[in-house]
Symmetry: C2
Subunit: 411 residues, 2 copies
């Protein structure tokens, strides 16, 4: 991979993705394998005026050993210092912003006890709710971006030798993140403007529900939350800073009504949950709740996901992505939601984003629930869009509008 | 490097060095480069019954970027969570123990502002005093061990290609740590017994001062602290667990009287301070205090060290190591105190260990000072022993005893 492209990518992540502001502290979480990217992001953050940068490194193999050998109670424990380690910065005068760098083996935890892993994760998320709400509610700017690691690259390109696979995955990431040609900052301005125009169009229709269908058997009706608001690529934090939470992003999305989802939906890409792969799955909903499900691989893991908490078997997001998105056009299955969710329409089990409901960021949990906004400690996107997907919208006035036809935006 | 040796080394570090006890949490600090060793230590710790293992990774190049680009006030800040991140475990029912893995480029910070680096370090150490006292006072078991990184290996073996240099440094570390042949656990039992016998002999003499001389010009008289007690390889933590703080270790050491050190001493090995090298140095003492110093390389850095705080220009440790120690016999200059201090007699600027004064672990700062025990936020060992070093001891009764002759134990 060319150093010049890596530098462009890092700088773009810091300036457009997180949009680090002068005086802020950038909190980075990063796997050991992604050190070359993290180091460049540290330098870019200082150049953007960051007061401080803290990198919290993690190691997949150490995490696997702990989940394999550690006691569940000990693993689920969250000492008081941990939430403070974030809040001490988020609450400080200069404030904080967050960058998560991913470089994960999609099957890192293959063969481990999926139930234990999920219970540990859910327990920890519950105890870190105050901090997690900072990003879920866009109180502070946050961004997720990725770089290849050998295990991930070999999963995506199994036919290539390791070094070539890593190189190929780098090229794919640079390409779908619009880094390869010219100035990514300018390219993303255009891209965001286009997505915003689609978002505005969707909001203008005032849809009350959407219907998804495909020859694969998908026949799903999704009622939208009361006051559902469509969002796209970029968000504003509480200080008014524009940031791009996901790199790449191709979606226009909103909040379903947690109790008004009915029908059956078929997964169109494998889903990596807790570093194990769920494949060939389908889910049936009644009154918003999953009543039946199945999977060709790791069905029990899908069950664990859906049983995480009360809200895990309802959905909190519906997102529209055309089949012609650069990620889908690349023909590559990334085995990573950050990419694959931008290759296809998707729904998410678990929490809704308060920002996708009018006035939602100022509502408490009770008020959000009254609007049909789903609550959960998980938020897991699964891909349901295919090349023949049709999406129709029902407006508040009772008109039916074609939104997607043949997997593409109809307008 | 052979996997089998690495596994033996990791297991020995965990079982003999830290001596992890059932129910404890092992807190590991480790550079990214040392991941292969850290991962094995995690597994050994669980096998030894650890309740939990936390690895705090750090990256030298990120640390360098922060020290280069970061604001001094921001770098010197210690948020409340940081000390809690250790104390939450140390104060827990099962308690904690600590493993520091080193794999550092001895010149990582070459060319940076040495004054800024030292001020940041001193400020942070002061704010973390409560936690630092846990290890300085042996309240909990702690151990420092090392593994090669390419930059360090190339410094030690500049004539070798990188991969061969790393291999050569591995072999040297395994050899001087007694891991290469047979069972390191058994070898270390014998080794510790031999050092303990020398320690007991030194304590039986009841020396009030030592005199160091060498043809290089060293002529130094070191009065010992009131109630000075000689220690060796292994220590006991507050729960009575035996641990070996340094791997390797060859020293028998005690506390000088902070105000009774006089004469001149010449350094016999380069000294890596804050990842910059001080070379060809000498120091003159009067009434315990440094009154003059010089160095062929990085003299200003030596000045920064000595100006760190009130106690930094007094010494807190004197240690005896024979020229025949395996580290010295290897003929290798490691550019790392963990190794080089075990190749030569040494003294340490800064804090004394309370355990090297009879009853010292129960004394407060005032009481320790009254006994002549030095206080400081730094503890920096510098090597002063040569192949011709003579050490004589003056007993309380006024007898002179030869302790070292020709660089070797005289008994």
């Amino acid at each position: 991979m060319k150093t010049e492209l890596l530098e462009k990518y890092a700088d773009f992540i810091v300036r457009v993705g997180v949009n680090v502001q002068p005086g802020q502290t950038l909190l980075v979480s990063c796997p050991l394998e992604a050190a070359p990217l993290a180091r460049l992001c540290v330098r870019s953050a200082y150049a953007a005026g960051a007061r401080d940068v803290r990198v919290d490194w993690y190691d997949g193999l150490t995490a696997r050993a702990r989940l394999e050998l550690g006691d569940e109670a000990a693993l689920s424990e969250v000492k008081p210092y941990l939430e403070r380690s974030y809040l001490d910065y988020a609450e400080s005068e200069g404030g904080a912003c967050v960058l998560h760098i991913l470089a994960d083996d999609p099957e890192l935890y293959a063969g481990l006890d999926a139930g234990k892993i999920n219970r540990v994760r859910v327990a920890r998320n519950q105890k870190l709710k105050t901090w997690r709400d900072y990003t879920l509610n866009d109180k502070i700017a946050w961004c997720i971006a990725a770089m290849p690691c050998p295990a991930w690259a070999k999963k995506v390109f199994p036919e290539l030798p390791e070094a070539s696979a890593v190189e190929a995955l780098w090229n794919a990431i640079f390409e779908v993140c619009r880094v390869t040609h010219g100035d990514p900052v300018a390219e993303w301005e255009t891209h965001i403007a286009r997505l915003n125009a689609l978002r505005d169009k969707m909001n203008a229709y005032h849809f009350s529900s959407l219907h998804f269908s495909s020859a694969n058997g998908t026949d799903l009706n999704i009622g939208l939350a009361d006051g559902a608001h469509w969002e796209s690529a970029a968000s504003f934090d509480d200080r008014g800073t524009l940031f791009v939470p996901n790199i790449p992003t191709e979606e226009v999305f909103t909040a379903p009504h947690k109790d008004h989802v009915d029908g059956v939906v078929y997964g169109t890409k494998p889903y990596a949950y807790n570093s194990q792969l769920i494949e060939d799955f389908h889910v049936t909903f009644q009154n918003g709740r999953v009543t039946e499900y199945g999977a060709g691989k790791n069905e029990a893991l899908l069950g664990e996901l859906l049983a995480s908490d009360e809200g895990a078997c309802h959905i909190g997001e519906v997102a529209l992505v055309p089949a012609s998105s650069p990620i889908n056009r690349s023909g590559i299955l990334f085995y990573d939601t950050l990419f694959d969710e931008n290759a296809a329409c998707h729904i998410a089990f678990g929490a809704s984003y308060p920002g996708t409901c009018k006035g939602g960021k100022a509502m408490n949990e009770e008020e959000l629930k009254k609007h049909g906004m789903n609550q959960s400690v998980i938020h897991e996107d699964i891909m349901i869009g295919a090349a023949d997907t049709t999406v129709t919208g029902l407006t508040e006035k009772g008109e039916t509008v074609t939104v997607f036809s043949g997997g593409e935006w109809a307008f």
